[in-house]
């Protein structure tokens, strides 16, 4: 227990350092700013803003990136409430009742409750990371290559199972991601694989190009195709202060949402959407009058918003302790850490405690900043919402280009990003989501390395994955997850969720 406090004290001394505080603020601010703009999800936002952290030392760079992430998530909720256009997939649920509240002139309380709920969830998430981080990291030190391989397999499987859309196409996207990830020089033999004689490719495909192409350019083209229509509830933001009844009604949903979100965030796979949906369903079941839902029920904002923020926060736990990204955003964080010369994993905590604990403390600081920043500045965000998309997207493309170029100061990355934009646009059109691909892409080289090592140690005996208990346990869970999805009822339920979120 004392260790926890000394760790947190170290963390806060780093996070409250004036420079880091400033970078945290810039991150949260920029993240919200871009997140508010419709049609740009958190992944594209982080990818786009990544280059501005290249020249920073690791600690402020990661603090800033984390800030960008929750800023972008919060910005997404603001858009959902004011424009009925989810800035990201997890605010789809917030759209349902949040926008209705906005239409009744209660956008102010909706925004305030969403901020309060998110802050509470963020605080709980931060404490949980601090509590469970060290023991999990210790456990991870016991892991051998077989365990790592099985854990990544489990991560990939659960990412597909709980994602929406076609299961088999998601598995295909993961396989393609894994394959793309191993393009470049093979560490063991020094042989350049699939480089087609292009020298830039022998260093591997830059993950920034993949992320920007698939998420940034792909999304922009899709948005231009549909033409974004917006109805902004600007004049009716109204008083921000939620009434006493609002607060009382939101208390339960916030608590339950946080609990649900925490659990979903810890599971491998990107679960903010599922967390938000489950919370919404739960509140609808618990309320005395379910007919209010969909017509501006504050519980329908408070619960899902807390759940999605709690999940966003706790999804850092597998990344920071085990070095395993659980979703597209965490995959981006892995890339950012690698660019900074840090290999994510349990050793970060022991070798760079100031970075580890500083980042955790800064998450709480960042969540606090979100509340302070967003409520008074809401008028400004509304103005940003009014900027027409046709003026915005050229700037976004430009930012992405500069970002892709500055990874290696090479135009090759820019061309690669264009290629992935093409690929991303068509794969999305044909019902294949880019998220699993990015996850596979980051895990590709890691999986291959651990598979090789495990097989070398076991002298070619593939049963090693099932004879070591932890590894076997994880593989059994993975197989179980794949099996239950084939069960007709589960499958139907999953399709319903996918259908609702596609609306």
């Amino acid at each position: 227990m004392t260790e926890l406090f000394s760790n947190l004290a170290l963390g806060f001394s780093v996070a409250l350092n004036l420079t880091n505080l400033m970078y945290c603020f810039i991150g949260v601010f920029l993240g919200t700013l871009i997140g508010v703009l419709p049609g740009i999800g958190p992944v594209a936002t982080i990818a786009m803003l990544l280059p501005i952290t290249f020249n920073l030392p690791p600690t402020p760079a990661l603090i800033m990136l984390a800030g960008i992430y929750y800023g972008a998530s919060y910005g997404g909720s603001t858009t959902a409430i004011l424009v009925n256009l989810p800035g990201e997939s997890s605010s789809v649920v917030t759209c349902i009742d949040g926008y209705q509240m906005g239409r009744q002139g209660r956008a102010g309380p909706a925004l305030a409750i969403s901020a309060i709920g998110s802050f509470f969830a963020g605080t709980v998430g931060t404490v949980l990371i601090a509590l469970f981080g060290p023991p999990l990291a210790e456990l991870a030190f016991e892991f051998g290559a077989a365990e790592y391989f099985s854990m990544m397999a489990l991560g990939l499987v659960s990412a597909v199972v709980l994602a929406h859309g076609s299961l088999i196409k998601a598995v295909c996207m993961i396989l393609v991601g894994l394959l793309l990830g191993i393009v470049g020089t093979d560490v063991n033999s020094g042989m350049a694989r699939y480089s087609f004689g292009i020298s830039e490719l022998s260093d591997g495909i830059g993950f920034v190009s993949v992320a920007m192409g698939m998420f940034g350019f792909g999304e922009i083209i899709a948005n231009l195709e549909q033409g974004i229509q917006r109805e902004v509830n600007t004049s009716k933001v109204g008083s921000l202060m939620p009434s006493w009844t609002d607060l009382k009604m939101s208390f339960g949903p916030i608590m339950r949402g946080t609990a649900l979100g925490t659990i979903f965030g810890l599971l491998p796979g990107s679960h903010t959407v599922i967390a938000a949906f489950s919370s919404y369903t739960l509140e609808k079941k618990l309320t005395k009058d379910p007919s209010r839902f969909g017509k501006g029920a504050i519980e329908g904002v408070a619960g899902p918003e807390s759940a999605n923020n709690a999940a966003a926060q706790t999804s850092f736990i597998p990344l920071l302790t085990l070095g395993i990204p659980t979703g597209a955003v965490m995959a981006l964080m892995v890339g950012a850490m690698t660019i900074q010369g840090i290999a994510p994993g349990p050793q970060v905590m022991t070798q760079k405690p100031d970075l580890f604990w500083g980042m955790i403390a800064s998450m709480w600081v960042g969540n606090l900043m979100l509340v302070i920043l967003n409520l008074p500045l809401i008028g400004m965000w509304v103005q940003f919402l009014k900027i027409p998309y046709r003026l915005l997207y050229p700037g976004i493309i430009l930012f992405c280009c500069i970002g892709a170029f500055s990874v290696n100061n090479s135009p090759a990355e820019v061309y690669l990003a264009a290629m992935f934009g093409f690929f991303g646009y068509f794969s999305n059109k044909w019902g294949c989501e880019p998220g699993p691909l990015l996850l596979g892409f980051v895990l590709g080289p890691l999986m291959e390395e651990n598979l090789r090592r495990a097989m070398l140690i076991s002298r070619g005996d593939a049963t090693v994955f099932f004879t070591r208990p932890i590894s076997a346990g994880m593989l059994i869970v993975a197989i179980f997850l794949l099996l239950i999805i084939v069960v007709p009822q589960v499958r139907k339920k999953r399709e319903e969720v996918a259908y609702e979120s596609a609306d």
Binding site: K169, L175, L178, L179, I182, L224, S406, A418, S427, R452
Partner: protein
Amino acid sequence: MALKIRSIKDFNAGLMFIGIGSVFAFGASQYPMGTAVRMGPAYFPTFLGWGTIALGLFVLIQSFVSEDKPPTPTAWRALILVLGAVCAFGALINTGGLIAATLAVVIISALGGHEFTWKAAITSAIILSIAMWAIFLKGLGLPFQLFPWS
């Protein structure tokens, strides 16, 4: 029995996965396979490549079985102009400097939108050029060349 494609989405996606899988599976034949104990560079991609082909085939077969809405028509204009703008940036950044690349990206990509006006495109190109200079050269000190002669 006449085969009818019931889902264009699945049909195309299936072909795409078979194609990508083939590139990796057959491309791997150039590299040593190794053994299960000492895996060569071809081992992992061969397995994954064949896996992708197999699942791609499955998706392809599915396209004849389960009905789905056809995909929305391709926005070729937006696609070509947006990606063209990106390629123009790549071509110009080292030879023409940051300003020329910025102007090219903004104007070409703006052409891909629905409501294009020269006035708006040129104004935002100029504003963004100044912003890029301020953010990346002055603010972050990235080593960009502003003009070809600077």
